[in-house]
Structure formats: structure tokens, C-alpha cells
């Protein structure tokens, strides 16, 4: 048993805001204070330090085909950040699309203990789990992509019963060993295969005549009726297009009051005002989130510098390929399932559009009032690599620092943004909500994201430094499942994380229809599609952790 003595515990799920507390870690769990005289194997004095649960990244592209295309395409990205083998750790390379092992080490070194890959193509789920299996220490999970797959679109075109669609959604979760469902440009990836170049929320798909709104309604309803904890994870229509704010608001509306999560919403918060016909719609988006309790979002903040964008949204990536820097890019149509596009990109602070994107993201963070419904992401690596989180936290917590940075961006962008007038500074308590308690809650991970008795002993301890960037870059101690894995920004033990999944019940009758579909059209056999638990372990996972599907009031 380990006693962590006297740290200032910030644990919003249990209402603790910096009160000095002792924590006891035993057999991977937080346990109640033991009886007097119980054996304590190790005691660590945390006086004056800040103690939080391990951080959770609910949207980070860490594994799967498109990330590996990005890695293979960009040797120059890795050459600047070689990582040598250490006594405990393997070698690899970092930067925008780091190698898997380095991804795991660096997340753990930053105090993260769980990461979720948001774009698992069911047909490519094995690869996603293999790459996540080679991402050590942190727990992982994925969201299976639906909404441009021909099986669903055919069912919808045939006006199939919602119950059968629910069965298909549940089967997909099980077959791909995922925790949630994501939709990317609903119907749009498929429409691009039919040579459509845009698909607005109420525009019918060129072949199936199904609208994105109908896809959103069907899938939000499916997850609701299956009691899957995580709402539909939505990459909305018209990513990156000036004026896309209307599509984003329509997307929220399509949920009809059911839970919906809009991801990297910064890329969907653009107006068409001003002489450049590109403006911030952050206020409208934030107002809409503030008004609708069923809506949550992560930001997808951009940071200036070189990165690579990797997305399932072939339609948007092809549209943006002309901006590729360096000038190379890949788009891929995939298996009547989805697609992917990889476009390297360099965000420049002297570029009006990029500078405004930066300001829009920060505006959304500061204007959304409920930290339980807005999440800290850069849509790694699309907005910036995840290693920029400490810098982002400082931007949110330190107005002086923020305004200093604002003064460095393109002056017209700064002038067009209200960011400089926003006075809000996030508190440590709010940071703990948005990086721990809230992601755990919205993902349905009841024993993560908090430090109550029975929780997983995923604990991060920070020195309380006034420079929050430094503070969050290299925590003093990181415990994963009760084991000390990182100390002052360096890995001290390499462990393997588990895979978080849900398995809602469904009528196996759907498998008959799926088998016919596979036999008729697919190039892999239905019998070989689903990933069994032993195979998940072969892929590298420690094993699945199955979270219950039960609906609860908020």
C-alpha cells in the first residue's frame, strides 16, 4: 500500500478543491484509510503539491491507418525529434505524428492515463488496436466510425426499423471493440465516392437520398436507446468552410434534445463576415452550447507551427489539399466503410485565417460557461500535437500570457476577435473538470477521472508552479493503476494499459443480414470481421474493461 500524504487534492467529482488529504493506493485502486497499524509499503509526502486524477484525452488520433500514413509520409517530421532507447524505454520518434511507444511515454510523462482514438474504421479496427497496443502505460479506447458506411446508408435508404439499426450499431461496437460511435461528415465520406464535393446538413446524399440530418438523428437515437454512455461523437459537416457555423448549429439541432458531442468544434465555428469573408462565430457557437444542456464539445485548438491533419473526412481533406505544407497529401476511399485523408499543414501566426482560428478556439474555451461540457483537445495532431497541452492550459489560466500571445498574431485577426476582451481565467478546479472528471463522466468511466474510494489508482501530482505550462509539462509523480510510472517528466516504469469498451445487448438476428451483405459485396469474410477478446490481447491490449450501458439522469 502506498500513502500519498498531505497533497492538495483537486477532485471535482467528489467536490474537493485543494483540501489537503491523504490518499491510499492498493492493488491498483484508491482505498479507504486503513486501520491503525496497517502496513504502508511506501509513503510520499506531497505537502504543497497539487493532486488530481490521471488526465483523460477523449479525442486524440493515436492509432489506426491514417496516423500510420502520416508517419510514413513525413520522415522529416520525425528527424527533428529522435528518441533514443533508454534503460526502460524503447526508441522511436516524436513530433506531430509520433511513433506509438513515444506517444505512450509522453502522455504518461504529462500525467495522462487514458487516451481515446476517435476514428476507428470498423474494417481497420485491428490496426487501431495494434497501434494502441504498442502505446504503453495509458489506457486506450476507440470510437467506431459509422455514417458513411454502405451498410447503414442502405438500411436507412430502405427505411429500416430503428431497432434493426440499433442492433447494427451495437454489433459494430462489439465487433470493433470500441467505447463509442463517431460520425464524420455524416454521409459525406460516402458522397465523395460518388463525386459529390459538399454535403450540407439537409442535402440528400447523391445516391442514397439520405440527409446528414437523418444520419445524425438515427445514430443519436440508436446510442440513446442502447444506453451507450458516450453520446454520438460528431465531426460535423463542412469542416473548415467559412460560414460553416450554420451547419454546426443545424447539427446540434438534429440531435433533437438527445445527447450529442461535437468534436473539434473550432474547425466548425466560422462565419463569413469582414472583407476576407472569414470571421469568428465563436460567440454563436458558445451561446448555443450554453443554451442546450444536451450538447457538449471539445475544442480542437490550433497552435502555430508544423503539424499534420489526419481525418476520415476525405471530402474536406481533398478540398483542403491545396494548402498542404509540405506539398504532399493522401486521400483514400476505404472498403465501403469510410475513408481517410492526410494533409500536412503549417499554421502561421502571421496568416490571417490561421491566427483567427487560434483566437476562435480560445474564445470558445472562454465563452462556454460549463467546464463539464467543453473539453481540452487539439484534435491531435490536426490542430497541434498533444504535447502542446501544457501551453494551452497556460493560455486558459493566465490572461496576461494570453494577451501577450494575442499581440503577436496577425493584427487584423486580433482586431477581428473579441479574445482580448475576455477576462476569464480557468482555475485549477476547472482544468481538473475538463481534463479528468468531465471526460470520465461523458465516456461512462465510473471509476476513472476521480480519486474517490474504489476509483482506479490513476493519480497525477504536480508541483504548484505559477508557470502553469511548466507545471503541467512535467508532473512530479504519475501513478497508473497504483504503480509509479513517471517522475518529473520521465518514465520510471513501463506498464500496459487496458482497453475501455461497451457491449450493449442486441438481437443477433442482424448477423444474418450482415453475413449476406459480406458474402455478396465484401472482400473479407464475415466470420473474420469481429475482434474477439483473445485477439484484442494479441493486438497488444492488457484486455478489455467493459463499461455498463445504463441510462442515468445527469
Amino acid at each position: 500500500m502506498i500513502r500519498l500524504r498531505g497533497g492538495c487534492v483537486i477532485d471535482p467529482a467528489n467536490g474537493l478543491n485543494g483540501e489537503p488529504r491523504d490518499l491510499y493506493l492498493h492493488e491498483g485502486r484508491i482505498v479507504a484509510p486503513p486501520a491503525a497499524g496497517a502496513r504502508i509499503d511506501r509513503e510520499i509526502d506531497l505537502g504543497g503539491m497539487v493532486v488530481m486524477a490521471g488526465a483523460i484525452d477523449l479525442h486524440t488520433h493515436i492509432g489506426g491507418g491514417k496516423v500510420n500514413i502520416a508517419r510514413a509520409m513525413l520522415p522529416e517530421d520525425h528527424r527533428g525529434d529522435p528518441v533514443a532507447r533508454g534503460p526502460l524505454t524503447r526508441s522511436g520518434s516524436g513530433r506531430a505524428a509520433p511513433s506509438t511507444l513515444i506517444t505512450g511515454y509522453r502522455y504518461a510523462e504529462m500525467g495522462y492515463t487514458a487516451c481515446f482514438e476517435p476514428a476507428v474504421l470498423p474494417v481497420n479496427a485491428r490496426q487501431a488496436h495494434m497501434e494502441m497496443g504498442d502505446t504503453p502505460i495509458v489506457d486506450k479506447g476507440g470510437y467506431a466510425m459509422l455514417g458513411s458506411d454502405d451498410f447503414l446508408l442502405r438500411m436507412m435508404a430502405e427505411r429500416a426499423d430503428q431497432g434493426r439499426i440499433n442492433d447494427y450499431v451495437a454489433w459494430t461496437l462489439r465487433a470493433s471493440q470500441c467505447l463509442g460511435i463517431k460520425v464524420v461528415n455524416p454521409g459525406g465520406i460516402s458522397a465523395f465516392k460518388f463525386n459529390a464535393r459538399s454535403l450540407d446538413v439537409d442535402q440528400p446524399h447523391p445516391y442514397y437520398r439520405v440527409t446528414p440530418r437523418a444520419v445524425l438523428q438515427t445514430l443519436t437515437r440508436a446510442l440513446h436507446e442502447l444506453s451507450v454512455p458516450h453520446p454520438l461523437h460528431v465531426h460535423a459537416s463542412n469542416l473548415g468552410v467559412p460560414g460553416n457555423v450554420d451547419a454546426t448549429l443545424a447539427t446540434m439541432d438534429a440531435a433533437e434534445g438527445l445527447p450529442i458531442h461535437l468534436t473539434h468544434i473550432q474547425f466548425h465555428s466560422y462565419g463569413t463576415e469582414g472583407e476576407r469573408r472569414f470571421s469568428s462565430a465563436a460567440a454563436r457557437i458558445a451561446d448555443a452550447i450554453n443554451r442546450q444542456a444536451n450538447v457538449s464539445a471539445d475544442v480542437g485548438q490550433i497552435m502555430f507551427g508544423q503539424t499534420v491533419t489526419a481525418s476520415g473526412d476525405t471530402m474536406a481533406q481533398h478540398r483542403n489539399a491545396g494548402h498542404a505544407h509540405p506539398n504532399k497529401w493522401v486521400c483514400m476511399d476505404i472498403e465501403c466503410d469510410a475513408g481517410c485523408g492526410v494533409v500536412p499543414f503549417r499554421y502561421r501566426d502571421g496568416n490571417f485565417v490561421n491566427a483567427l482560428q487560434w483566437a476562435i478556439g480560445l474564445e470558445i474555451f472562454l465563452r462556454v460557461t460549463d467546464p463539464w461540457r467543453i473539453f481540452l483537445t487539439t484534435d491531435h495532431p490536426n490542430g497541434a500535437p498533444f504535447t502542446s497541452y501544457p501551453h494551452l492550459i497556460r493560455l486558459l489560466m493566465d490572461r496576461g500570457f494570453r494577451n501577450e500571445k494575442l499581440a503577436q498574431i496577425h493584427p487584423d485577426a486580433a482586431a477581428h476577435s473579441e479574445l482580448g476582451r475576455l477576462e476569464r481565467e480557468y482555475s485549477l478546479y476547472e482544468i481538473a473538470i475538463m481534463t479528468r472528471a468531465a471526460p470520465a463522466r461523458i465516456l461512462g468511466l465510473k471509476d476513472r477521472g476521480h480519486l474517490g474510494v474504489g476509483a482506479a489508482a490513476d493519480v497525477t501530482v504536480y508541483a504548484d508552479l505559477p508557470d502553469r505550462e511548466r507545471m503541467f509539462s512535467a508532473p512530479e509523480y504519475v501513478f497508473k493503476d497504483g504503480e509509479l510510472v513517471a517522475r518529473r517528466g520521465g518514465v520510471v516504469k513501463v506498464t500496459q494499459g487496458a482497453t475501455h469498451v461497451v457491449r450493449p445487448d442486441f438481437d443477433r438476428g442482424i448477423e444474418k443480414r450482415l453475413r449476406e451483405y459480406f458474402d455478396r459485396y465484401h472482400t473479407i469474410a464475415f466470420d473474420n470481421f469481429a475482434i474477439a477478446d483473445d485477439e484484442l490481447i494479441d493486438c497488444g491490449s492488457r484486455g478489455p474493461i467493459v463499461h455498463p450501458c445504463v441510462r442515468e439522469g445527469r
Binding site: 510514413a72 520518434s93 509520433p98 490496426q127 473474420n528 494479441d538
Partner: protein
């Protein structure tokens, strides 16, 4: 001297299957939906039954799968050290000694599964080795294009359901991927292709096409090595340039204009090639011409590239190397951190220059994949029948998809096919053999 080029196949596999010495196991029911690891299509619809312990493809096989499934691996081939029989443990210990003593080991694979590749990379990391694949000359013809310009590509199920036009560039698709037309571009039912499909072959049309395709196939005779000129011309025409030549690479310009018009009119066209067939200097420039043409055609319509490969586990090796190191093979771990150089860390060049002082060759799929001849001591971990007479160490390997479960990546890099265990063996998997060597090396380095 080094003679092998790529995964050089012996004219015939040397190993002659011998009947198993033990009592044949009771006949078991045929298994369906079996995955075949022996080419990049990774067909997983085979029916396989066991006869005297050896798997026999009962249906949906091709010549290659029938041959390579049926090689019995239970014959006399055991581990050897310096040509003499040895226990597996002793042979693996000797392999560890050789690698430990080497200042620049070279780990060359010609066909192992994901688990094997993971173990190989860990061993490379530990020993400071260079990692390459026997097919990498062909793979880098594509990878250099990926790293310089990129492409728009597609996958097999998309081709099957969407493609109304296939253009094959200098590639013997049937010879390399025998069931391609049956499974992806033939008479199989499709979601979105209602009329007949049309195929154009730059180079000879392959034998063995399904009738429906052969009927509508057009071949344009052209020397493969001049494909770059053909695609440069097509790109120029697509860009609206006027060309003052009547022939390009011996092909009348009008023929190319007809081809381009057909490509423009396709609802979903596919341009396929196997880089292994484009074995001429700077083939990557011809391939880049193809990829840039495909990009240009997407300004108005839909067209996609289909690079064909994946045989001998080459895409698998590239995938695992990329996610673990950041680089798609030809990586050196000598300095502690991975360094990528597709020229310097090409196995053949290193061996010719005498830059490697130990070679580990690992090949669990096709015994006709031969290790490179080399003056450096060579460790061969191979399927029984792999040429190993000159090897300092030989350890027979089990085959993924026959003797143990495993994963291999298909040609399109998207689908990792789950391979099953069908039969028992006394041999180790590549992953186990490589991990045993790693353990024997210990933490000394």
C-alpha cells in the same frame, strides 16, 4: 558475394514434403473462411481440410495457396548450427552470440506476421541493427512517391463495388495476385456497377482473365521502362497541352487520347500497378506520374490508385516498422534512436559494401524466399525448406495461418487479416524465436 535480389525465389522450393512420421491425426471437419497468407490479397474465404496433418485447400484456392498450404512442415528439418543438427535452444543461443558480437547486425525479413515484426523491431532496438525487407526495393518505388507527393488511393472492396474502369500499368496482375479479377474486378456482384467493367492494360493483357473482362480488355503494347513517358503524356493531355508528337514510347498519341477520354468518363476509375513489376531505374518517377494523373482526374471526377503489393508480409513489415519507429523500413537503430535512409540502409547495398557483420534472415511464409548470400555469418529463421546450407544457424519456423494465429496486412494497408491455427507443429513462431534470441542476448548491450 551477394547475389540475391529482393525476395529471390529459388526456381523450385528445395524442400520435398515428406509424410509425417507420427500417426496421422483423426480427419477433422473442413474449415471455412480460412485466410491465406501467401499473397497480398490475403483472401480469407478458403476452405481447408487436414490430410495427414497437412492442410489441403479444398476450395477457393489458387495455385499458389494450394502449393504453399500443402507443404508439410513436419519433416526432418530441424535446427542446425554450422550445418550440424542442434537443438532449437542451442541454435537460438548461438544466434544470440552472433548478434551480440556483431558491431552492425542486419535484420532482413521476407515474410513474418505482426507479432513477428514486433519482436524483430525489439531485437533491432536492442542490438542496434538495421531493419529491411527483402521486397523493399519494390516497396520504396511507392514509398518515395508517398513521401514526395502522395496519392489518392482505394481498397479492394471499393474496387469490387465501384470500379467501372481498371487501368493496369505494366503489371501481371493475374500472375502475382491470381484471384484479383475473380474477387475484385470480375463477375462478382457489386453495389454500384451495373454495366460491364472495362480494363485497359499498358503492356500485355495477362492470361487468365475472366471472359467478361477479356471481352472488354484493351491492351496497349508498351515497354514498362517507358511508362513514365506514357503517363507524362497523359498528364500533359489532361492539362490541355498541345503535343506535337505523333508517337510516345511507340504508342500513337491518338491511342493515348482515347485512353484518357475513357479515364475521364469513368464513374470510378482505378489505376493499378505492382511496384515489383516496375523494376527499372527510377520507376518511382513513373509511379509518381501515375499518381499525379490520378490526382488531376479527381479535379472533376473520381479516380483512384491501387498500388498492389503485400506479398511476403511486406506491407505488414512496413506498417509495424512505421508505427513503432516512425519510419517505413530501412531504419537503423545503431545510434540508439532510429535513423531512416532508404539508400544507405538498403540491405543489398550494405551487404555488397561489407557494412553488416551479421545477418538475420527471417521468413515464415514461402520457403522459396532465399536468404542473401553474404560473407557475414547468417542466421536463418525460416520455414522448413528455406535455403540455409550456408547459414551459421538455421531454426525452422512455424507458419502463421497454418500453425499459429497471427495477422498480416493486405495490399491496401487497411485490412489486417486474422489468420488461424489449422495444424500443430513442433516449430516456433517467428515471434517466439526472435523473443528467445532477445532474451538470450539479455541486457548486456
Amino acid at each position: 558475394m551477394f547475389r540475391a535480389r529482393g525476395c529471390t525465389r529459388e526456381s523450385e522450393a528445395r524442400y520435398v514434403p515428406t509424410p509425417a512420421m507420427s500417426t496421422p491425426p483423426a480427419a477433422s471437419a473442413p474449415q471455412s473462411s480460412v485466410g491465406c497468407p501467401f499473397c497480398g490479397l490475403l483472401c480469407d474465404d478458403l476452405t481447408v481440410e487436414l490430410a495427414a496433418g497437412a492442410p489441403i485447400v479444398a476450395s477457393r484456392g489458387c495455385g499458389k495457396s494450394r502449393q504453399l498450404f500443402a507443404l508439410a512442415d513436419d519433416g526432418p528439418a530441424g535446427a542446425r548450427v554450422d550445418g550440424r543438427e542442434a537443438t532449437t535452444e542451442i541454435a537460438l543461443a548461438r544466434a544470440a552470440e552472433i548478434l551480440r558480437a556483431a558491431s552492425q547486425p542486419l535484420l532482413l525479413t521476407a515474410g513474418i506476421d505482426v507479432a513477428g515484426m514486433r519482436a524483430l523491431l525489439e531485437l533491432a532496438d536492442r542490438t542496434g541493427a538495421v531493419v529491411d525487407h527483402a521486397n523493399a526495393d519494390a516497396m520504396f518505388r511507392n514509398l518515395l512517391v508517398l513521401q514526395d507527393g502522395g496519392w489518392i488511393s482505394t481498397t479492394l472492396t471499393e474496387v469490387r463495388n465501384r470500379a467501372d474502369l481498371l487501368v493496369s500499368a505494366g503489371t501481371d496482375i493475374v500472375g502475382r495476385f491470381p484471384r484479383f479479377f475473380e474477387r475484385c474486378f470480375g463477375d462478382a456482384q457489386a453495389m454500384f456497377v451495373d454495366g460491364e467493367r472495362e480494363a485497359w492494360f499498358l503492356g500485355a493483357a495477362p492470361a487468365g482473365l475472366p471472359d467478361s473482362i477479356a471481352r472488354r480488355a484493351t491492351a496497349i503494347a508498351v515497354d514498362r521502362a517507358r511508362l513514365g513517358e506514357i503517363f507524362a503524356t497523359l498528364r500533359a493531355l489532361e492539362a490541355g497541352k498541345a503535343l506535337g508528337v505523333a508517337h510516345v514510347a511507340g504508342v500513337p498519341r491518338e491511342r493515348l487520347e482515347v485512353l484518357l477520354a475513357r479515364m475521364r468518363a469513368a464513374r470510378y476509375g482505378v489505376l493499378a500497378w505492382a511496384a515489383a513489376d516496375l523494376d527499372f531505374p527510377h520507376a518511382e518517377l513513373a509511379i509518381q506520374g501515375m499518381c499525379e494523373l490520378v490526382k488531376a482526374l479527381n479535379a472533376k471526377g473520381r479516380f483512384a490508385a491501387l498500388p498492389l503489393g503485400g506479398t511476403d508480409g511486406d506491407v505488414t513489415a512496413m506498417q509495424v516498422s512505421t508505427w513503432q519507429s516512425g519510419y517505413p523500413l530501412r531504419v537503423s537503430f545503431a545510434g540508439g534512436a532510429p535513423v531512416f535512409d532508404p539508400v544507405r540502409y538498403r540491405a543489398r547495398r550494405m551487404l555488397e559494401a561489407g557494412e553488416a557483420d551479421a545477418v538475420l534472415f527471417v521468413s515464415a511464409l514461402d520457403p522459396a524466399c532465399a536468404p542473401p548470400a553474404s560473407d557475414a555469418p547468417t542466421i536463418v529463421l525460416g520455414r522448413p525448406g528455406t535455403r540455409s546450407q550456408q547459414a551459421a544457424v538455421f531454426v525452422p519456423l512455424a507458419t502463421p495461418g497454418i500453425h499459429h494465429a497471427g495477422h498480416l496486412y493486405r495490399t491496401d494497408s487497411v485490412v489486417a487479416v486474422r489468420l488461424r491455427k489449422l495444424a500443430d507443429t513442433r516449430h516456433l513462431s517467428a515471434a517466439r524465436a526472435l523473443s528467445a534470441i532477445l532474451r538470450a542476448i539479455g541486457d548486456g548491450r
